[in-house]
Amino acid sequence: MTLNQLIWKSLKKNLSNYYLYVFALIFSVALFFAFVTMNSSPDTGAAKETTTGSVGLTLASIVLTVIVTVFLLYANRIFIKRRSKEIGLFQLIGMTKRQVFRVLSMEHFLLYFGAMVVGIGFGFLTSRLLELVLLNVTGQEGLATLSFSMKALLQTILFFSVVYGLIMLSNALYIRKRNILDLFQVRSKSEGKRVSVIETIMGIFGLVLIGTGYYVSSIMFRGDMVRVELLFGIMLFILATVILGTYLFYKGSVSFLGNLIRKQKAGYLHVREVLSLSSILFRMKSNALMLTVITTVSALAISLLSLSYITYYSAEETAMQRVAGDFAFLEKAPADTFTAMLEENGIAYERNNIDIVKANINVKDIVQAEGDFNFNPDEMLATVISDEDVEIDVAPDETVFSGTNDLMSQIMSLKNTGEIAFEEVGTKQLTGTQDEYYVSNIFTSGGLPTAVVDQETFERLNENKDPELQWTSSLQVTVNMEDSSKVTEANKLFEELPEGELPQFSRIKQETDQKQSLGLTLFIIGFLGLTFLITSGCILYFKQMDESEDERSNYTILRKIGYTRNDLLQGIRLKQLFNFGIPLAVGLLHSYFAVKSGWFIFGTELWTPMLIVMGLYALFYSIFGVLSIQYYKKVIRESL
């Protein structure tokens, strides 16, 4: 048999054995190609012209490149490890390492580039789908007109050729580093270590690091730390402490706790523990690294997805802040025109005029946190309206703040009650805070509270107002539809209005604009998040497949001794709960802190969107856990 025949034969035989590796290849190529195709498509070109758009896309492709490379190298490592005996055998019968390497490289070449062709085909189909989704999300009309891009093809081929080179390099190193004996024994090597003081210290240190990271992240956006040039450094610091802490936590604490339990059992282990605890501890070294990778990737994915969903979810809320009614005007004339048009079309509406005065108030008494930036509590410029214009009743010596939002309260936190002082009318008692918006935020300098006072106070303020402080308009006319289903129809009429001197607002238009401008970013982040999810799930699944093969002989022994398949499966479930559950739990915790530290920059709602994302992530992620248990089931069934 010549070398070439050998290559061909082993390829044919291995193809069915290593469908996993082939799958990883096809998946990566398809993903990458889809992304690159979209990137170079003229349809997304428009979105790319904005700076944030192009920066985002570049950043995304870098992250994608790294993830795909790591993923493929990992899959290859499992692939080569499984074949180590074969490699050893080739050497045993007299092939040189160079020849073995040649056989492997050739075989890989065929496999790799074969998978690439399939992957590009899949990728093309996926990219059409993705573009449809993208256009849908950004609210653009039109059909996806994606054509096969030569540029994308070349980029994909180039990138994967480089990865091929890297894989070959890692294989060459693998073969060179090991002698024949190592190759035959690669599986039974123990990573087990006994309990040591260093481990305990390491574990505690890991927890301290994570805690530090969390703490810094929670104070990152406090007034005294917000310095843009520092922000990037702080973020890197948090990332480093948390990732390192997680690694040490896994390496130290987990094996420390595990060994403690084990020691307590004094050798008397139930089969459940045999398959979970001891198996996990046996591989703790490689497990710690992998769990850290999975945790980090999961945390990244959840944070990215949460933040982007928060933005999307908050679009409505943001539009609500921007526009105090369905439609809002700052002068009487265009409002009159608009209502006339509504009447003509028989749409019932409700019109509301609010007079507005700007005044300085002293809020020193109710400021909660000191040292907030750019803010003088003695002279806060507030928007003041009368209680008669809105439907609440305020006593003469009292006031109510309305239109507070979470972002503002994060940066500048005010108490809900206390004493405030107007320069013109003296002290008033603040009796409460509402989050309703009576006034569009064009008046409120981006979210400062609006003070509601009684009519008499308002008139006095209006007489003594400081002209310096007043804005161009001191009137807001809001028009609300009585029947909310007519809003779209009304919006069409609104679009026909001539542009006035002062801006006029439509809430529904604001909302779509917002979604459209966010669409691309959202889409990229969503795409990356999904990639991370699938990649981390796959890596875990591969690792479990690998472990199950390693432990196949253990299952044989246990079944011979008399344990049933169910007994074994119980242990496996426990082990998978750990392998999948721990990184998920820690990843969720990490992302919770990450999201909490800066969510208010992205939107106004935290809990609902974050919990939805976390729930969905956990759900999809568990699919991989279930799949791996199914795989174990098969291995166990076949083991006797």
């Binding site: 008397y268 282990l269 501890l281 246990l558 011979k560 001794i561 008399g562 344990y563």
Partner: protein, 253 residues
């Protein structure tokens, strides 16, 4: 009543067309407290015989009874339960779990028996002392020698005091010193604990430690030898003569 009784067991592999009969109607009984060796050339079916006797493999025809239990009629789950309580195993490749320490490996069969930790510890101390492996209790299988591994494996087979212990070429991977060490221990345990042992081997020296040797040829019982009052050396000579007649297979084969 004998401890194990097998009647007319047949075992064949493959489908209708490629059928290959490995066991062709073997009758066999083993008494309580016996140490029986099963010998035969490669391919004679001795390992298959051990596998069906020990319920790991199923017979095509015939019946096997161990104690009061007819094992050929049982379902997989019931068989597992039966093995757990009544059988012990020693294999050529040791079959230890790499992920467990020596002690954990040995205590494995006890963990289902719901024995208290204290009692288990006592059992362990007894058997570890008998087999001389107290010092390596905390080590992993990758850290000990072949002989130690096999003694660990033997300890695991004995610890839950099963009705019968099946050993498949237990000395196959050992050097002669470790092998005779192990066989001495096995035969000690056989007499001291009245443990019943059925051992498959192709090594006449190993077989000479037992009280009876059964020869298998082409899936059928060929003959059997009883040790009786002979010394081990004389018994060995007998075995080797029979083996020579059987097919010119020498003990170093």
């Amino acid at each position: 009543m004998s401890l194990l009784e097998a009647t007319k067991i047949h075992k064949s592999y493959g489908n209708k067309f490629t059928k290959q009969e490995v066991l062709k109607g073997i009758d066999l009984t083993i008494e309580k407290g016996e140490f029986v060796s099963i010998m035969g050339a490669s391919g004679s079916g001795k390992t298959t015989l051990l596998n069906v006797l020990s319920s790991i493999d199923q017979v095509s025809q015939g019946s096997i009874r161990i104690g009061d239990t007819e094992i050929t009629a049982k379902k997989e789950k019931a068989l597992a339960e039966f093995r757990k309580h009544h059988l012990g195993f020693i294999f050529q490749e040791y079959n230890l779990l790499d992920t467990l320490t020596v002690k954990e490996n040995i205590l494995l069969p006890l963990s289902i028996a719901k024995m208290s930790k204290k009692a288990a510890q006592k059992q362990f101390e007894g058997i570890a002392k008998d087999l001389g492996i107290e010092d390596i209790a905390g080590k992993y299988p990758s850290e000990i020698s072949g002989g130690q591994k096999q003694r660990t494996s033997a300890a695991r087979a004995f610890i839950h005091e099963p009705s019968i212990i099946f050993a498949d070429e237990p000395t196959g991977a050992l050097d002669s010193k470790s092998a005779s060490d192990l066989l001495n221990k096995l035969s000690d345990l056989n007499s001291k604990r009245e443990a019943t042992i059925a051992m498959v081997t192709h090594d006449p020296v190993a077989a000479s430690y037992s009280s009876r040797v059964i020869f298998i040829k082409d899936g059928q019982m060929y003959t059997q030898l009883h040790k009786g009052d002979q010394t081990r050396e004389m018994f060995l000579k007998d075995i080797m003569t029979t083996q020579g007649v059987l097919g010119g297979v020498h003990h170093d084969a």
